[in-house]
């Protein structure tokens, strides 16, 4: 079986098993708060590194009270 077929089989097996109990999951979220089940919408994750492994990782941009990037076009491109 190809890997693509394998992946589809994983989905089929999950859906066929009907193991996911929506009522139990809803109760779990209600008891523990929605935050435990959801992730931050604004971040991809986190970056860990030192000066060397940060090559090719972009500098951190502080976006609080951010501005339209078009406002810095002249500074970046020189025109």
């Amino acid at each position: 079986m190809s890997n693509a077929a394998n992946r589809e089989e994983i989905v089929r097996k999950f859906l066929g098993s009907k193991v996911f109990d929506f009522n139990a999951f809803g109760k779990f979220v209600a008891e523990n708060g929605a935050s435990i089940a959801s992730a931050s919408e604004s971040e991809f994750g986190f970056v860990v590194g030192n000066r060397f492994i940060r090559y090719c990782i972009p500098p951190v941009v502080e976006v609080e009270q951010g501005i339209n990037p078009a406002a810095i076009r002249n500074e970046v491109t020189g025109r």
Binding site: N3, A4, N6, R7, E8, I10, V11, R12, K13, F14, L15, V19, F20, D21, A24, F25, K27, F28, A34, I36, A37, S38, A39, S40, E41, S42, E43, F44, G45, F46, V47, V48, G49, R51, F52, I53, R54, Y55, C56, I57, P58, P59, V60, V61, E62, V63, E64, Q65, G66, I67, N68, P69, A70, A71, I72, R73, E75, V76, T77, G78
Partner: protein
């Protein structure tokens, strides 16, 4: 709902009418974008090449000069390879004194365990014909130090060291490259739902180093289609969170592996190109640092460049590798057409945030939108997962099975994730019921 009647190109992409532009027009457009990045590189050298940047409010926003110097060298190296007429001669000459400054020599001598990384600009300049025997000898002394292997790195960074060493010694890496590649994202899928940004960068960088930015044909540890399937999900996630740096790097996978652009990849390219046209350069995200407003003159320019140059470089490199022989137009969204009902259902399942991809999608014609069902499924699954909406994830997986789209890594990882969640919740309630009894 998708605007099915609007057949105009994405905002800012009027120069290229998708599917209609001839190869010469496409190549000209890519060169124009690359030349913009090269121009920004000249300014980056001018303003950040000597001292780097230390004006950020958070420590991670600061960097030494070696970072922009290495990245500038990479941009110019890729540009010179795929677009010799992109205007790299002047910035390459400008780079030489920075790349081989007294500070650089001192760093290479002092830190043998990272000497190749520090010497990145020197090595890439040498590969382009700007050699320096004295610097080479210093580097050789550092490379032969007993502490050479004293800095442990993750596998994709091993590939980077191998790539630099091969360029420095003017030889191909050999079988060891395939051994290391097996341990990277080239050999194993990353966690597409909940992986970190580091994981995503590991995914985007491994093919850059393994292929020498598309110049080497390599035997991958698994079919390239599997890797590109995951790259498509990394791209979708990057477009959702408006991380255009990562989106651009994810897109490079197609030309690096000499593969035809998928509909999602071509759409991703259109999103980035239209945003670049709208802003004047490709920004890192939706907003730039508000701190720039409080600065003037030289400091303002340095801050603007420090927070923007990297993503502009990524766009330039993407355009350069897209000029590889045999690559089709990255603007052309062509693929299997799914039913419009499905497109509408998937698009409706995605909460609007105002992200730029939404505007770009609205401006596509119906034929293009109908090729993007797998992309919309990826976005819908990612958004549902991030908001903890398990019921919607299950519904989306059922839809994927019905429409023959469930063979992706994101679908199988979603199913596995929901299975684990189900087992966890079920286990808790079993314990709870038993304790009550």
């Amino acid at each position: 709902m998708p605007n099915l009647q609007d057949r105009t190109a994405a905002p800012g992409c009027n120069r290229i009418a998708a599917g209609a532009a001839n190869p010469a027009e496409v190549a000209q457009d890519l060169r124009r974008r690359l030349q913009l990045a090269v121009r920004i590189a000249e300014r980056t050298l001018q303003f950040l090449g000597k001292d780097g940047f230390d004006g950020a409010e958070v420590p991670d926003g600061n960097f030494a000069a070696e970072k922009p110097l290495a990245e500038t060298a990479m941009l110019l190296y890729v540009a010179a390879r795929y677009a010799p007429d992109a205007g790299t001669a002047a910035p390459l000459r400008d780079l030489v004194p920075y790349a081989r400054s007294e500070q650089m020599r001192w760093d290479v001598v002092r830190y043998p365990s990272v000497c190749l990384q520090l010497a990145t600009p020197h090595i890439l300049l040498s590969a382009l014909g700007h050699v320096d025997q004295d610097f080479d000898e210093l580097l050789a002394r550092s490379w032969s130090a007993s502490a050479r292997a004293g800095h442990e790195v993750v596998p994709y960074r091993e590939l980077e060291v191998l790539w630099l060493h091969a360029l420095w010694r003017r030889e191909r890496p050999g079988p060891v490259c395939e051994e290391i590649a097996r341990k990277t994202a080239l050999g194993n899928p990353i966690d597409l739902l909940n992986g970190t940004r580091d994981d995503a960068y590991a995914h985007t960088h491994a093919p850059m180093y393994a292929t020498n930015f598309g110049a080497w044909q390599v035997t991958l540890p698994r079919p390239s289609g599997e890797f590109l399937d995951e790259a498509g999900s990394v791209l979708a996630r990057a477009l959702v969170v408006e991380d255009y740096d990562l989106a651009g790097e994810a897109l490079m996978a197609w030309p690096l592996l000499s593969s035809h652009w998928s509909p999602a990849a071509a759409f991703g390219f259109r999103v980035l190109a239209s945003l670049e046209d709208k802003v004047g350069f490709l920004p890192a995200g939706r907003s730039a640092s508000g701190r720039i407003r409080r600065l003037n003159g030289h400091d303002k320019t340095r801050c603007a460049l420090a927070t923007s140059y990297h993503t502009a470089y990524v766009m330039g490199m993407l355009c350069a590798v897209s000029l590889k022989d045999g690559m089709a137009s990255p603007f052309d969204i062509a693929g299997a057409a799914y039913q419009m009902d499905l497109i509408e259902m998937l698009y409706a399942a995605i909460p609007r945030t105002g992200a730029h991809w939404e505007n770009a999608f609205q401006s596509l014609d119906a034929r293009e939108q109908m090729a993007l069902a797998p992309f919309l499924l990826d976005v819908a699954l990612i958004r549902s997962s991030r908001s903890g909406d398990a019921a919607r994830m299950v519904h989306l997986l059922q839809t994927a099975i019905t429409h023959g789209m469930a063979h992706t890594a994101l679908c199988s990882q979603s199913a596995e994730y929901l299975s684990r969640l189900g087992a966890m919740v079920d286990g808790r309630h079993t314990v709870s019921r038993l304790s009550r009894a």
